[in-house]
Amino acid sequence: MTLAETLRAALGPASLYSGVEDVIMYEYDYGLDRGMPDLVALPRSTAEVQAIVRAAQAAGVPIVARGAGTGISGGAVPAQGGLVISMARFNQVLEIDEANRCAVVQPGVVNLDLSKLAEPYGLFFAPDPSSQKASTIGGNVANNAGGPHCLSLGVTVNHILGVQIVLHDGSGVRLGGKSPDGPGLDLTGLIVGSEGTLGVVTEVTVRLLPLPEAVRTTLAVFTSVEDASEAVSNLIGRGLVPAALEMMDRLALSAIEAAFHAGYPPEAGAVLLVEVDGLLEQVEAQASVVDEVCRSAGALEIRLAATPEARAKLWAARKGAASAMGRIAPNYYLHDAVVPRTKLPQILAHVVEIGQRYDLPIANLFHAGDGNLHPMILFDAREPGILVRVMAAGNEILNRCIDAGGTITGEHGVGLEKINFMPLIFSAADLEVMGRVRSAVEPSGRFNPGKVLPSLASGHGLPQRGAMPALVPEGLWV
């Protein structure tokens, strides 16, 4: 029997697909990279995942686990074909343990659904990527996802207590558990952020945090990104760590307003969205510091979200911002660089200059508090030759960020998209150590091949500084 026949017999016809019309929609994620799978399996249980892994290993095909496909770095794209395991049907919250402030969930549970279910217990799951309406806990684990509120609360790895994972030989192991900080090597921490290269996670134990007593969300409007950046530096300089500190520039605001009518002023040069939370008294004091600092940095206008609905509206607009770019351009390339936050104004000047030089509009969203910038290069893929320019401009931006002491991804993962940039921030020796750890856990090399580590990727050498990432073929719909 072929692999498809074996798996169809094991899983049933509505859980295994092989025709191109049935699998072509697994060639993409939210990013630009593409790779056509040969097979797509939709298992419902750990035992089924184990059977799939064993059969795929016997057939010698690549195995790529996928959540909702909302990632931006090609992590869920089957770069070398093979079998995609969609975890979308693993969508049950198995337990909410109120007393121990944790939950046991299947990896296909949607991030926001978990926080909604935990809300009646006064709890929530802290990582809140902008995709949280659709992205899954499994995907968050794979990419060590961040989000606006990770500034004060930490990224996904800080909120994962344990995982159950199916390894290369089909065996299932449990790492970690409800009690935090176990002895020995932190293998749970190794799995988080490994982007599907070490196995398939089939269950996750997550930490839940108590909802804050009070929240104050301020929208401050500035004439320029420089003024807004000054406010960011001064806020942090005053010792304040807001729950979230977000910046958007003029071009980003124009798309956001067209989509959401959230009351973001389109004539502004930049806005800051600052959220403080905690105990009521403390929050009032912090909100007045935010007000004062923004005014002295030249804020034109300061608005406090008066109701939970007003606050939700501001956040919905911020979190839908990248997705709204389709209103002002057919395509865009969203980057995910990080710099020390004091370097933000300097980097932004470079981004503006690079955009002008390449004649490409660039909209900017920032998690300003932790120096994570998301420049979005807008383009129309139907324009001949434009992708070369887009890639070159992106390449320059990343190189500038690295020069400023930054790095190539804050929260979106390396995937395919940034694999050629890895040598820019890691030495050959660093990469070799990572490769040895990867091989020790997953010796077959068939789990998400071609991702994260360039030395293991077939066809990827160790490129020189400034090398271009793989180009998307001309004419492809991106």
Partner: protein, 418 residues
């Protein structure tokens, strides 16, 4: 890419507006049910794009994914990039039926529905007259009890609610009660007068009671919505032309329609026909809840003792983006206890002909919906579209409940003692 917009091809600009972010996934009833990307808005757009590029074939698998879409347009409501999904899917279906050879049964069904029945009021009246007789004579009970019909037909037959008397207006113009404040047209549609006559009667009473002179033009025909959804634009255009002729030139302030599915299509006549008369017709079109919520209503005279839950019809809340009007009306009715269900804006699986053509998926979606409805404990389910009413009545029977299924305007009518 170099796509050109010709005939029924989906427009390249519409397709490229999707940035495939996936924020639509959790609002798609078929994705929620299957977890399968091919049954998601993003996946379907990708398929249609792939067909225009020649990367896939319009084979059975392709057809299944395109036809299993409810076109509820929930994805359109939540899309940050403002993708016109309904427009893409309608053109995508037209493109598919142009290229693919359909199985004989489906070709016959489509021809019967789109060409021979829906556009012809007399034929519809005859057919529903026969069905009414079938129910009155007790044949329905007999057939259901004996299990005489083969499974597929039995399920289709189970859709049919008990048929009340049809709506047969005796005049074309009904004067307002009291002072005439508005002159409105009333759109009656094809199947609705035959299956939901009392909803039309209630609409007419409520409008007249609130100072409307109501015109019910005899020359009006089916709105063409089912044709448009099924990718039959040519037949739909002819129907639209007749309706524009029937309603314009009467000096109307509004064309009121109580079927959300019809209303959504009528509001898009301007795009369908691209002429000034059609644009004017579209501009005048108002859903009955939208119209009533926008005027000063006469005081209510009766208490409506009902616990109510609202299923927001997709073509009202998503296609027409009318969310507040039905709630405002229900909230104003004395005695009504409105209890929200979880996901009131998620499709019930009716979706026009979908409940006949995609029975299995439609039923699975319905059963999930009935769980949400049952947990409200409401005794009355209200909605704003005849297809939804028919599907929910089936859901009530399947769940063994005794709930009433009503149109919003019927409750308004009750509050006036109707």
């Amino acid at each position: 890419m170099g796509l050109t917009v010709v005939g029924t091809e989906p427009a390249a600009a519409d397709l490229s507006q999707c940035v495939h972010c996936g924020l639509c996934l959790q609002n798609c009833p078929t994705y929620l049910l299957t977890g399968y990307e091919a049954e998601s808005p993003r996946g379907r757009i990708h398929l249609i794009q792939a067909l225009t590029e020649g990367r896939v074939e319009p084979n059975d698998a392709y057809r299944t994914h395109i036809e299993q879409c409810l076109v509820c347009r929930n994805c359109e409501s939540v899309c940050p990039s403002g993708v016109h999904f309904g427009r893409i899917m309608e053109a995508g279906r037209a493109q598919l039926y142009e290229r693919a050879s359909l199985p004989l049964g489906q070709r016959v069904f489509r021809r019967l529905a789109f060409r021979e029945l829906l556009p012809h009021r007399a034929r519809l009246r005859l057919m529903f007259g026969a069905l009414r007789l079938y129910q009155r004579l007790g044949l329905q009970r007999l057939v259901r009890a004996t299990g005489l019909l083969p499974k597929g037909h039995a399920e289709a037959e189970s859709l049919l609610p008990p048929l009340p008397p049809p709506f047969e207006p005796r005049w074309e113009v009904f004067p307002a009660e009291g002072e005439t404040r508005y002159r409105v047209g009333m759109f009656t549609g094809c199947v609705m007068p035959l299956v939901y006559g009392p909803v039309h009667a209630a609409t007419l009473r409520v409008l007249r009671h609130n100072g409307c002179e109501v015109h019910v033009p005899r020359q009006q025909v089916c709105c063409g919505a089912l044709n448009v959804h099924g990718g039959e634009q040519v037949a739909a255009r002819e129907l639209a032309r007749q309706n524009v002729r029937a309603f314009l030139g009467r000096g109307l302030d509004a064309i009121v329609v109580n079927s959300a599915g019809c209303g959504a299509t009528m509001k898009e006549y301007g795009q369908l026909l691209d002429d000034s008369g059609a644009a004017e017709f579209a501009r005048l079109t108002r859903d009955v809840t939208e119209f009533l919520a926008g005027i000063e209503l006469q005081p209510f005279t009766r208490t409506v003792r009902r616990t109510v839950t609202l299923q927001e019809s997709c073509h009202l809340v998503h296609a027409q983006r009318i969310k507040d009007a039905p709630r405002a009306l229900l909230g104003a009715l004395p005695g009504v206890d409105l209890r929200d269900m979880a996901h009131p804006d998620l499709c019930c699986g009716s979706a026009g002909l979908y409940m006949l053509t995609e029975r299995e998926m439609s039923t699975r979606i319905l059963d999930e919906k009935m769980v949400d409805i049952t947990s409200t404990g409401a005794g009355t389910i209200v909605t704003a579209n005849p297809g939804c009413m028919m599907q929910l009545q089936r859901g009530v029977r399947r769940a063994g409940l005794h709930s009433d299924v009503k149109h919003v305007v019927e409750l308004v009518d009750e509050a006036y003692g109707g």
